[in-house]
Symmetry: C2
Subunit: 507 residues, 2 copies
Amino acid sequence: MADESPLSSEQFLGRTNERDLNEPLTDHAEGQLFLTEAFKIIVDEVLRKGTDVKHKVCEWKEPEELARLLDLELRETGEPQQKLLQRVRDVAKYSVKTSHPRFFNQQFAGMDYYSLAGRYLTETLNTNLFTYEVAPVFVLMETEVLRGLRQLVGWTEGDGIFCPGGSASNMYAMNLARYRLFPEAKSQGLYGLPRLAVFTSPESHYSVKKGAAFLGIGMDNVILVKVDDGGHMIPEDLDEKIELTKSQGAVPFLVSCTSGTTVQGAFDPLDRIADVCDKHKLWMHIDAAWGGSVLFSKQHRHLMKGADRANSVAWNPHKMLVAGLQCSALLLKDTTNLLKHCHSTRATYLFQQDKFYDVNLDIGDKSLQCSRKVDCLKLWLMWKAVGSAGLAERVDKAFVHVRYLVEQMKKRDGFHLLGEPEFVNVCFWFIPPSLRGKEGNADYQEKLAKVAPTIKERMMKQGTMMVGYQPLGNKVNFFRVIAFSPLISQKDLDFFLNEIERLGNDL
Amino acid sequence: MADESPLSSEQFLGRTNERDLNEPLTDHAEGQLFLTEAFKIIVDEVLRKGTDVKHKVCEWKEPEELARLLDLELRETGEPQQKLLQRVRDVAKYSVKTSHPRFFNQQFAGMDYYSLAGRYLTETLNTNLFTYEVAPVFVLMETEVLRGLRQLVGWTEGDGIFCPGGSASNMYAMNLARYRLFPEAKSQGLYGLPRLAVFTSPESHYSVKKGAAFLGIGMDNVILVKVDDGGHMIPEDLDEKIELTKSQGAVPFLVSCTSGTTVQGAFDPLDRIADVCDKHKLWMHIDAAWGGSVLFSKQHRHLMKGADRANSVAWNPHKMLVAGLQCSALLLKDTTNLLKHCHSTRATYLFQQDKFYDVNLDIGDKSLQCSRKVDCLKLWLMWKAVGSAGLAERVDKAFVHVRYLVEQMKKRDGFHLLGEPEFVNVCFWFIPPSLRGKEGNADYQEKLAKVAPTIKERMMKQGTMMVGYQPLGNKVNFFRVIAFSPLISQKDLDFFLNEIERLGNDL
C-alpha cells in the first residue's frame, strides 16, 4: 500500500496540506470521542438541568441578539472540537426545554428515556423504511406496532403506515378515500370529476383544509359542520350538509371527525357520525392525532366509542404518549391493499420483483415518500419498557391532573373556565383583579383579550414556564394549559396557578 | 408533602401496587442511567463494529426467524432494564449497517459524527419548527442554512423550507408552480381548470408521478421527455412536447429536471432547459436531491450550470453530504412569500397575531406539516465542523473513487460498464466466465439478467457487502454501486471488485 512506502518531501507536504482522498475522511476514534462528549453535554443541559424546576424553561433572547450569540454563519473552514462542543452547549442553552415540568405549551411536552434511546438508535442506524433488504428489523417492527395500535381501535386486521406528522396522515386518508371512489383520479387527475366535498367541524385541525388545497380538492370544498357548545360535531347538521352538498351537484366522499380537538380537546360523537357515513356511504376518517391515546385507558377509552366503525384513524403517539417527534400512525381498516394501489408507482430500481425474498416485505411503495424515517422503534421500545399498562397510566395520570387543576381553579378567584374539560386541555381566562365584576362594561372583552398576551410575554421573558393562548370564534384570548407530561407532579400545577396570578394580578 | 408522613399499611400496599398519579411517572436517575447504557451499546454495536470491515454489513435472517428472534409482541406489562438493553443490542445486531464501508447499496450510505451529535441533540430537545416561541434557535438556524445552500445555487435572496424527504420537496415545488399560475386552485380546487401538464424525463425520480397523482393532476399528465443515451433530458424534445401538449388543450406549468438521476446519475442540461422554460414561461424545478451536493465542489459544480435560472431546487444533504435521514431542502428563488401564500391557513391557535415578538418569525404556516421536525441542526453542526471545504472534499473524494473503480473495471475481465459515469453512480454488468464471448447467443440477455440477483442473494446471506441492482428500459439487471461514503478507502473498492468476482465467477 502507498501508505507504507516512504514519501518524498513533496509528497509529504502534499499530504499535510490536503488529505489523501483515497483514504477515509473520518477518524472514528476522534468522532466517537466527540460524540461521547456531546452526549454528556446533552444529558447535563437538556435532560438534567432542562427538567429541573430550578432552571428556566426558556432563556428568552430577542432574535437579533440570539443570532449574534449563536454565530450561525457557515464558513469555508471547520472549527476545533472544543468550539463545536460549546456550540452543542449553546444550542441546548437557548432552546426551549420542552421536557421541563413547566412546559405546558403544546401537545408535545414531556419525554421518555426509553423512547429517547430508541431515537438515538434510529438515528445511528440511519436506514430507510422502504425495503426488507435495508430495514429488516423495522419492516417487521412497524407491522407489529401498527397491529398493536389497530387492536386498540378494535380491528383484528387492516393496514397502516407511519407518516411524517398528523397532517400527512390526514392527507393520506383523504387521498385513499378519493381513490376508493374514483381510482381513475390517480392517472387522469380531477379534471373529469365532479366537485368533491369533505366534511369536518370548524374546530378540526387545519390540516384538513391544507390537505384539500394540496390535493386539488380546494379549501372551499371543505364543508364545515356545526358544533355544539363543547365543540363536538353535530351529526344532524352533518347529514343536512351532505344532502345539501349533493343537491348542489357535488360528491361528498369523506367525513373527517376529530377525537380531541386542538383547542378544547373535544371528541366528536363517533357512533352517530358513523351512522351518517353509513347512510351516505362515505369514508369515515378520525383525526385522533391528539386524542387517540385514550384508547390505552380502560377508564377513558369510551371517548372514542365507535372508532372501530371508521375507515381510517390518524394517531400521533408523539403527543400524549411522549414517543418523540415525529411518530404519527395512519391506521386503516382496509384489507384490499388500498394503500399500495393508491400510492404505488412500481419503481423498478427499488422494488425489483426478482428478489430472493418475498417482495411483499418491500413496503415502500405504500408511501408517498421515498426515504421514510423509522418512526416505529422509539414507540416499540417504550411500549416494551412500560407495557400497555404503563402507557395507560400516562393517560390516566393526565386526567387526574386535569381534575385537580379544574378543582383548584374553581377554588381561586380569577380563573374562569371555558367549560368543563372533556379531555386534558384546560381552557380558561385569567381575570385580573381590575376586571373582576366588570363583565358588563363595554370594553371588558377588549381588555380581557390583552391579558393572556401580556402574561405570556412576562413568563417568556422570565422563563418560568410556558403556556399557550388563543382566541376561538367569538371568544377572546384564553389560556390553554396542556398538562399531560408524565414528568409533572401536582406541585407543578400549583406553581402554574400561582405563577399566572403572580404575573397577572397587576393587570 | 404526603410522601413525608408515615403511611398506613393500607396506603403502603396501595403505593406498591399502583403509583401515585399526582407524582411524576419518571425516575430521571434511572432513565439517564438507561440512556447512558444504551448509548454505550449503540457506539459499540453500530459505530465501532458496524463500521469495521471485520464485521458483517448485515446479519441476514429470513423474516419468520427474525420475527422470532426479536420477540416483537407488545404486551400489557413492561420489561426490566437489562432485557431492554438486550433489545437495543438485538435491534442493532440484526439491522443493516448503512455506515459500513461496504454498504454500497443506496444514496444514504456513510455517517458523520458531528451530524450524529446534532441529531441526538435534536431528538433530545424534541421541539417543533413552527414558531419562534418554541424553536428560537432553529427558526434562525434554518434560515441561515437555507441561505447557505441558496448561495451555492447562485441566489442572493429567496426562500425555502426543509421537507420530510425529496419526494415532499418535489411535491411542494409542484404545488407552488400550480399556485403561481392558478392561485384560485387553493380554494376552489382543480375542477374549473384546464388539464395541467408536468414535464420530466423517464429517468427522473418516481416522486414526480406520485406527486401528480396526489395533487390531483394525474400521472398521465406527467409528460415524459426523451433522453439521450446517457440519460439526459433532450431540450428539443421538451420544446416539442410542450407545443404538442398545448395544442391538445392542456396547460404546461412545470418542468422537473433532474441533477443526478437515481440510476445513472445523469445531469439534465439545465441551461438549455432554462431556455425552453423561459420561452414558454414555465416553472423550472430541479430535483437535485441526489446531485445537488456537487455545488460544493469547485471542480464538479459545472454539472449544474444554469441551476440559478431555476425557480426551485430540491436538495437532500442526507445523501452525499451524509447529514443523516432526513435532511431535504426545498430552495426557492421566490421573494414574494409564495410559500406562505400557497400553504397558509392561518390557524389562530398557533399563529396568533398579537404576540410580543415579530410574528414573521413564526414560519410554520409555510409548511404543509403542523409538527415539523428540526432537520437543520445536524447539517449546521456538521458544516461548522468541517466547513464548506470539508463538504467539498467529500464530493471530490467520491469522484476520485469513481474514477478508480472505473479504471479497475476496465482492467478486469467481466466488468462491463453501461457507460462512462458522469456522477458517482457506477452502473455495470458482471459477465461471469460462462457468458463471456456469448453475446450473440439467443438466451444471453435472459441469462445475464439472472446474474445480479444471484450474486446479490449470496452477498446478503454472507453479509460481506451490499450493492443494488435493477433493470432500466430494455437493459437487463445491472449493478449500481454507490461509492460516495466518506468512510471508505480504495481498499474497500478493491474488496468490492474481488467480492463480485468471488460470488459470481461460477455463474
